[in-house]
Amino acid sequence: MHGKYDGEGEQSAFVFEGTWREFAPIAFTNLLLTIVTLGIYRFWATARERRYLWSKSRFVDEQLEWAGTGKELFFGFLIVLLLFAMPVVLINFVAQALIARGQEILGALLGIAPLLIIFYLTGVARFRGLRYRLSRTRWRGIRGGSDEPGFRYGLSYMWKSIVAWIPLGLLIPWSMTSLWNERWNKMSFGPYQFQSDAEAGSVFARFFVFYLAPFIMFGGAVAMAGMGMLAGYGIGGEDGMALGGAFGVIGMILFFYLGLGLIAVAFYAKFYREVVGATRWKDLNFSFEASTMDWVKLLIGDALLVVFTLGIGLIFLSYRHWKFFITHLEANGEILLDELTQSTTRTARHGEGLLDAFDMGAI
């Protein structure tokens, strides 16, 4: 079976082999250097962190490699600052001046422009973040990427997000899955395109529960508060009734936040199972096996880690999240290594396309 991977019957195609003990020295020195450089080192810190995480992630028989550098992230940041943040500050300044001079409408319109730009660029950034990560990921010397710059995706992101909100947010599952498909269908690894045909239908049920939950819970909570008041009255008359009511209200608030949070997590768990499961690469099918319970454990673990270390645990979150992602990611199918040749997508080599490093958000 030389030069060919057949995923059937194997344990898991993706394995994470890192340990937090190995990660800790990286995380702590990164923290130190980030503090003494007033945050500037964080670009190099990110690259170091990823180099470790990628090198401990094995796909079939070879570790991944992160080929991105801190320098390019830093330059990407500078360019974003120059092309985008400075104009926004400037526009705001002009808008303020216009309003002070009595041109309220013009000023207000000009004040809205940066918001629209931010909205648009958020979409572009999501696309570019993914493209950047794929183009800096090596497996057996092969990388991924995309030939699209993501400007059209930015427009799709805008109109699909707006359309999703028009029927009171009911189309959000549609916009999320369709944007996922649009993003991944433009990506490739080596010579092959990714293909994704996730459907909103299968995640809609969970979304609907999430959508209706506040109303159901409000009803339940009113009942609970009422019951608390009744129980309190039974025990201690008027005062007891107030106390019981208070307990009922507290219960309702807790229930509201925890319950709603839980349903949101359930939706996201289902969403990722659906979209990753609908993503293919040549003859390889991906799947993401994290259940709602797995997500809940991850998030509770995060919270406990951060709280009990007085915030220092924050530096381990990227490790935990990457491990979670790789551990639950599966792939089935086959790859012919002889046919797997280098990607022909353009990469930033001499500083062109540095905007790639507009790195934001994972998959």
Partner: protein, 374 residues
């Protein structure tokens, strides 16, 4: 150390082949995903020969770049072929590892000077940078040429959207008040703005605005003289550019965070001075009032009323922008009250008619614009 070196170079010259060796190696050519597994042999000079059943290549050592260190292996790249990857064992004979590119951990500079020294160095530079950034408005502000400041002020405010009140009698009263507290050759440009807020501001380009709100609540012209003198103080002590630079610095720091349209005029009005600057402006005001023989009790009364209304600490109330960033109203009231000469009989600074003209200035101006919150 020096001895070590000389012995080494001797052997390198006389018996190069003796120090050559072969290690296990694997590589990817960066063109296909096929792994080539074989050996790397060093000729003792500047070349590494990679041999595998599937591939034979020679790589100049100078072409190799450090990629990353893994637990037992080191990955090298090639400068001439960015996707080429060579994996060698981490434990290499010292002769060869000397010729291989150096390991990098934290990135260029830091590896060269060591983590500890780099951290201390960066720390010192950072502290200096922060100090510079924090103090820059203080020494840069007063050095901004006045002509720039004037242009900036014009650009920022213009005619304030037609919201400046003007009547012949009102203008005359304001000019009289200004003459008392601003003895300079070129006076500040003081105007009344049709805004119903208890506030007054000094803006770039020696412009002072009294809001109609503060005039309406004033119980005596001395009160307004105090307020006007205080704002003139900000202009004369060149606080305005300093505050503007400070605000600009903050907005750069918070880049993008403050995008609300609602701030607008309030952004200008709430342009914060430091407490020291406020005390300086207050001192200036008291000196001018004393010079012109105007009672400081008016200003004291104003602050007492403010202290009563909003608590002793003006800081806690952000609605009254003028007070928000100013020292505690109670303290300021005391300072003004103490400045009054014992038993002195101050003449009124404006006649009743003049004070009245100021009060009705905005109501009587037929073409002044209303100020509204959109």
């Amino acid at each position: 150390m020096a001895k070590d070196c000389s012995t080494l170079s001797t052997w390198a010259r006389s018996e190069p082949m003796q120090e050559s060796f072969e290690v296990a190696a694997s590589w990817y050519d960066g063109k296909s995903a096929l792994r080539h597994e074989g050996s790397a042999s060093w000729d003792g000079l500047d070349r590494l020969s990679l041999a595998a059943p599937t591939s034979h290549i020679a790589v100049p050592l100078s072409d190799l770049e450090f990629g990353e260190a893994r637990s037992e292996t080191i990955i090298y790249r090639r400068a001439s072929e960015p996707d080429f990857r060579l994996t060698l064992p981490a434990a290499m004979p010292p002769g060869l590892s000397r010729h291989l590119p150096e390991k990098q951990v934290y990135g260029g500079w830091i590896d060269r000077v060591g983590l500890g020294r780099a951290a201390v160095g960066f720390g010192l530079v950072s502290i200096a940078a922060v100090a510079l950034f924090m103090t820059a408005p203080d020494w840069l502000g007063p050095r901004v040429p006045e002509s720039w400041e004037r242009n900036l002020g014009q650009a920022m405010i213009g005619d304030f959207g037609g919201r400046l009140c003007s009547t012949p009698d009102g203008d005359a009263a304001l000019a009289k008040l200004l003459d008392e507290v601003d003895p300079a050759q070129t006076q500040v440009n003081a105007r009344v703005a049709n805004i119903d807020m208890v506030n007054a501001v000094a803006l770039p380009g020696a412009q002072v605005l009294l809001f109609d709100g503060i005039i309406q609540q004033a119980e005596s012209p001395e009160e307004l003289a105090g307020v006007l003198a205080h704002e003139v103080g900000h202009v004369r002590e060149r606080h305005v550019m300093t505050a503007l630079l400070r605000q600009f610095g903050m907005s750069v720091l918070l880049a993008g965070a403050n995008t609300g349209v609602g701030d607008t005029v309030f952004g200008l009005a709430a342009m914060g001075y430091t407490r020291d600057a406020e005390r300086e402006a207050d001192r200036y005001a008291r000196a001018r009032l004393a010079e012109s023989n105007i009672s400081p009790l008016g200003a004291a009364g104003f602050f007492e009323r403010m202290a009563e209304e909003y608590g002793d600490d003006g800081e806690s109330n952000a609605v009254v922008g003028w007070l928000a960033s100013h020292p505690a109203a109670g303290e300021r009231a005391r300072d003004f009250r103490n400045a009054a000469r014992e038993g002195a009989d101050y003449p009124p600074v404006l006649s009743d008619a003049e004070f009245d003209a100021l009060k009705t200035m905005c109501a009587d101006d037929p073409d002044v614009e209303e100020f509204d919150f959109f």
